[in-house]
Symmetry: C2
């Protein structure tokens, strides 16, 4: 079969070998994931500022499309916490929450994000995601988790509060604290407590009771459904909605509707940066889950095709009443653990959620939003992990600065400013680090042909020779630094007649660095000092040989540093 | 003497050893530079959109302050073409040219730029200038030269035209071409032609006549003064100003006045980015001239102190009726060639110009602006050098792209957009390049302990071992690429039991890369494959040893690749 077609439609590869045993495994996994996803997808719609049904819609068509275009066998695509938060942050700046325009803008955001992802996949631009360093992502996720949890407190307490960063949220909550609805607060606190207990306390109990790991895991996953059923029943039985407990209310009984996003240029322009950030964050979250799970079965993930898969899923979300989606960590792990063999498990999950959207929505009329908020809080607090601060501090102060800045700015200014500052800072830190590369002056270790740092070892040197070893590729950001260093070293020492650059650690020399080498060569010539090179790597030498630099070089090029010193002294 | 004081006040160092012979040399150089600077400084004021006297003022106090704070013995500080163009571009967006607000905004721009430079010097942030790669600067200077020349055509032709990029200028010139003042055009064309001839044609003639090199050089430098005198006399004698020839007009006879820039926060905010760009461009231009000249006398330039020197010079310009200044290429070379021994030459030049400002300004009343425009055009066309396109193309397509983009965007959109795009593009290109590092799978050369690329050499490999050599430091932008490559290589080959990373070219591993190595180790463990490291550099090993990574590593760390293969097979 056409390999190009298989690259773009991975379903053609696994679909041909689909077995009855795969079917059984996929159906089981789909059942478990569906049960987990019903409360989760409602909750994330709430987080994104959308009506509850949008969460179900966003979990149906996108997951089916990903099954066709994605390369991971286990990834479950749908609304996730951080992306939902970013969606709310992006849209609230532009349109008022709860309006029709808000829902349409959500469709546009998903569509735009989808187009960006597909384009990045087709042009193989996945490397852009690499600019998000691990520390920045870890800091961002932690800070987002805190903001999300804080943003849900209003639902737990039954008050209103606004804000897209921690300060705004805390101030707003504090101001409205007088209006607490105590029944809502009781439901919220009990639900949150119960869910925490299910996570931390129930598992050991069940295991002690002698239940198998599989059954234990399944029962723990039922926790959210139990809370949903219990609190819904309570509101319905005691008529608590009449006493001020906010409920989900009427949800249309419907399959995902066909929707069209707005193509207003002004709107799209405002959404462009948020859509880009959502795409990148979503992709990074998704690909790392996908690769971790694929490794367990020695399967391969194609990052560029993943971009296409996620992009098509988002375009699907924008056409079926959804909002931005990506591969989620917890649901994918559940899917994998439940034995999902192929992406068909995702398709079956979609069928399960479609049935829920058609048949079960009347049952959640009385579901309190406080319960959904409790689900979110318990889910996101597992994202909060301050240990990254300690670990990065131990490893490298620069990385620590990137984490700390990302966390602080995300908390203080919101998600977009936080992630942008984090990326900018890590790029600047990288440039700064490589702009002052380690340059050692070296001499010969007595009795050997090895050359070592004169500051660390007792080595043999010659007053007329300065040998510098640059431990970094030469490029524009550090080329001028080398000029400065050489000029500073030679200008003050009238005995120097030869400068040897030991190039063993130089993997590349860009055009700027070539011009700097020419400048160094010219300036040394003015001082009557010769410039020599030693241990130049093959590809670097090939490049240099094409240019006039080697003709102009006042000195010579030596294969080894030892030969260089011998040759110069001879 | 206090070394800290000497660092910040280099005059304390050279001033103590000042000799009578230095005085003679400095006075001669100052005389020649003064003659050269009078027309040039008037012209650059015109280019910056300011009254002619601003050019003189900007050449007096700044050069004296630089003499106190700067480290170059030969640098001549004052208005230069590119910075004047950037000044005009920055100010015209904010205030109307010719108004009082415009001149005040110019003072603010110089002051802001001065503060930025001093701050960068005190905090040793000179490395920021390194992000301007050679190709980007070369492209920018070339494009700026073209824009400057085009912007002066209106003065040559005696028409009006507006615009800060080539397209705007050409359209505007074309529209007004009907209004040519033919007398102005005659003066302009003759002056331009004469100046070109002085540059290219006069020198050989004089040399043939047997004049010495020094006298020839001096006579050639008199060219602009000759044109100024001749055209001024012509306008005065024939009363051409009454026939539409634009003249400089009344210039106050005065020493530089004491002025205060505007501190309006709104204005300063609008000027911040332009001031930053002007500071960086000015610094880069200045430092490369300074270093080239210093090398000829084996002197040392301190880049951080240079920032302070230029910064104080600009603050001086803002307090004495000037505009942004920097070290100029041509005047510094003239200063050096004329024998300037110390920065005192600059101070004497300032005295010369102060005398000119006091005594000679009535003489330039009838000086036609077309003559000044001719001076500018001839000066800047020497900046235009398209050979950078050819040279960078030959060396590296990425560098070529950076040059071409910078030239095109500067011409099309103006100086600020051009330089910003160039910097952004070269940073992105660098990140892109290092995000896909060269990773070679290597095998043992028969009969040796060397390991080479399996694609290039006939080498010995073992089906259970994959050895990868990464030719780049590992950091966030390429860490995930390594994950992808290893996963892709191992997932498809069931025989692999060991992956060895040959780390001989890895100069650094940042925190992101460490986390990636942990992920690789974990994923390989899932596939029942061990990860080993070989030839890890000392500092990298020190870092790794502080972390838990080495404890978790499924395989071992070997001193050499040869030992690694032996150890794994044993």
């Amino acid at each position: 079969m056409n390999t190009r077609l298989i690259r773009y439609l991975p379903i053609l590869s696994w679909g041909r070998h689909y077995t009855r045993s795969d079917l059984g495994n996929d159906l089981t996994a789909a059942f478990i994931v569906t049960i987990m996803l019903i409360p989760q997808s409602l909750a994330y719609a709430l987080l994104a500022g959308l009506p509850a049904e949008a969460g179900l819609y966003a979990s149906i068509v996108p997951i089916m499309l990903y099954a066709v275009f994605g390369t991971s066998r286990s990834l479950a695509v749908g609304p996730v916490a951080v992306v939902s938060l970013m969606t709310a942050a992006a849209l609230s700046n532009i349109v008022e929450q709860g309006t029709m325009g808000y829902a349409v803008a959500a469709l546009s955001l998903a569509g735009l994000s989808g187009v960006i992802l597909v384009a990045m996949g087709l042009f193989r631009l996945g490397f852009v995601a690499n600019f998000l360093s691990h520390p920045v992502i870890a800091g961002f996720i932690t800070a987002s988790g805190i903001i999300i949890a804080a943003s849900q407190l209003k639902h737990i307490l039954g008050i209103s509060a606004e804000g897209h960063n921690l300060a705004e949220l805390v101030v707003s909550l504090g101001r409205n604290l007088g209006g607490i609805n105590w029944i809502t607060a009781l439901i919220g606190v009990l639900a949150t407590g119960f869910l925490f207990w299910v996570r931390k306390g129930l598992k050991p109990v069940l295991t002690k009771l002698g239940l198998g790991a599989g059954l234990t895991g399944f029962l723990v996953k039922l926790g959210p459904i139990v809370v949903v059923v219990a609190t819904t029943a309570a509101v319905w039985y005691w008529g608590l909605d009449a006493r001020g407990v906010k409920i989900v209310g009427a949800v249309p009984q419907s399959l995902p509707p066909f929707t069209l996003p707005s193509f207003s240029p002004a709107l799209l322009q405002q959404l462009l940066l948020p859509a880009f950030l959502i795409s990148i964050i979503g992709f990074v979250e998704s690909i790392s889950v996908a690769q971790t799970l694929a490794a367990k079965k020695r399967q391969r993930i194609d990052p560029d095709q993943e971009l296409i898969g996620l992009g098509v899923a988002n375009i699907g979300a924008s056409l079926t009443g959804g909002f931005p989606v990506t591969g989620g960590f917890s649901r994918s792990v559940v899917n994998f653990d439940a034995g999902a063999a192929t992406p068909a498990a995702g398709a079956f999950t979609a069928v399960g959620l479609a049935i829920a959207a058609l048949a079960l929505t009347p049952l959640i009329y009385f579901l309190p939003t406080a319960t959904l908020a409790a689900t979110i809080i318990v889910a996101v607090l597992s994202l909060v992990d301050f240990s990254i601060l300690k670990r990065s501090w131990a490893y490298n102060r620069g990385d620590f600065a990137a984490v700390a800045t990302t966390i602080l700015l995300t908390l203080a200014l919101g998600v977009e400013a936080g992630i942008s500052a984090g990326v900018l800072l890590s790029v600047l830190l990288h440039l700064y680090r490589s702009s002052k590369p380690h340059i050692a002056e070296v001499g010969q270790m007595p009795g050997t042909e090895h050359f070592r740092n004169i500051l660390r070892h007792k080595v043999i040197t010659h007053p007329s020779i300065v040998t510098l070893r640059v431990d970094e590729s030469l490029y524009f950001a550090n080329a001028r630094y080398l000029e400065d260093r050489i000029q500073a070293r030679v200008a003050g020492d009238k005995e120097v007649r030869h400068v040897i650059l030991q190039c063993s650690a130089i993997n590349e020399i860009d055009f700027s660095a070539l011009e700097s080498l020419e400048a160094i060569n010219d300036r040394l010539r003015e001082m009557d000092v010769k410039l020599h090179l030693s241990e130049v790597k093959g590809p670097v030498m090939d490049r240099l040989a094409e240019q006039h630099f080697l003709d102009q070089l006042t000195g010579r090029v030596f294969l080894s540093q030892y030969e260089a010193v011998q040759g110069v002294l001879a």
